[in-house]
Subunit: 114 residues, 2 copies
DNA sequence: TAATTGTGATACCATTTGGTGTTATATTGA
DNA sequence: TCAATATAACACCAAATGGTATCACAATTA
């Protein structure tokens, strides 16, 4: 039963929502406070916050009549881990580069995927 | 001039496209070969490949009448780096957890890939 | 109590997205 | 040359997306 990455990646696939995450990394904010930072109606911001909540990237707590939105950084991990799979390939290239530099004249074969 | 993350995150925000990336991490494939792996027409797969190409996550090379699609792992880095900003917060929590427990006995490893 | 404020919910619109099917073009191979 | 193949390009459709405007309701405050 693997974790469903889709809601996470979906939530991350919008620049406004990524900006909101950065904002919330500094402060917990109400909907109105978030909306204040964007050239957009509260309704539009609320929609983004809902999608972020569905991706569990934020948690929302009722505080009187306000809703405080809080970053949930842990939810970013699965996406991060997924991407880190490809780190291998960066390393492979770096290793190849290192090897090429270090050997510099005796090594000639680099059987990479071509 | 900061790199535009949008085409990258957009390309990553679809499960089919993420699967294609995994596929291409093992082999360079033509459109038909990629399409063979999915319950979807070639046309639909081609659209996904175009979006992946727009995000520079793959490179396409003409080889006779075929188009060979190749993974470009470097293009994943910017997204990876963006997410790594939040690593700070995981570390903060982990440090707090470590401090709270103090008698560690580690358990981990559940590599969830989509 | 009444007025104000923060939010949820809904209806609505334009655009994008994911998908299909068809047709056209270029390359390969007999 | 001709047939088969791999793809591009296009029209088309249903659904999702990003946005607005508006109304209703609960909590605060005068």
């Amino acid at each position: 039963m693997s974790f469903d990455l889709q809601p996470t990646f979906r939530a991350l696939a919008d620049p406004t929502r990524r900006d909101i995450l950065k904002l919330l990394s500094q402060d917990d904010l109400t909907i109105a406070e978030v909306a204040q930072q964007f050239d957009m109606t509260r309704g539009a911001v609320k929609k983004h916050l809902t999608i972020l909540e569905e991706g569990q990237l934020i948690t929302v707590t009722a505080k009187g009549r306000e809703r405080v939105n809080q970053l949930n950084p842990d939810a970013i991990r699965p996406a991060f881990d997924w991407l880190s799979f490809f780190e291998t390939f960066w390393d492979a290239r770096l290793d190849a580069l290192k090897a090429a530099i270090e050997t510099s004249d005796s090594q000639n074969e680099s059987p990479s995927n071509d």
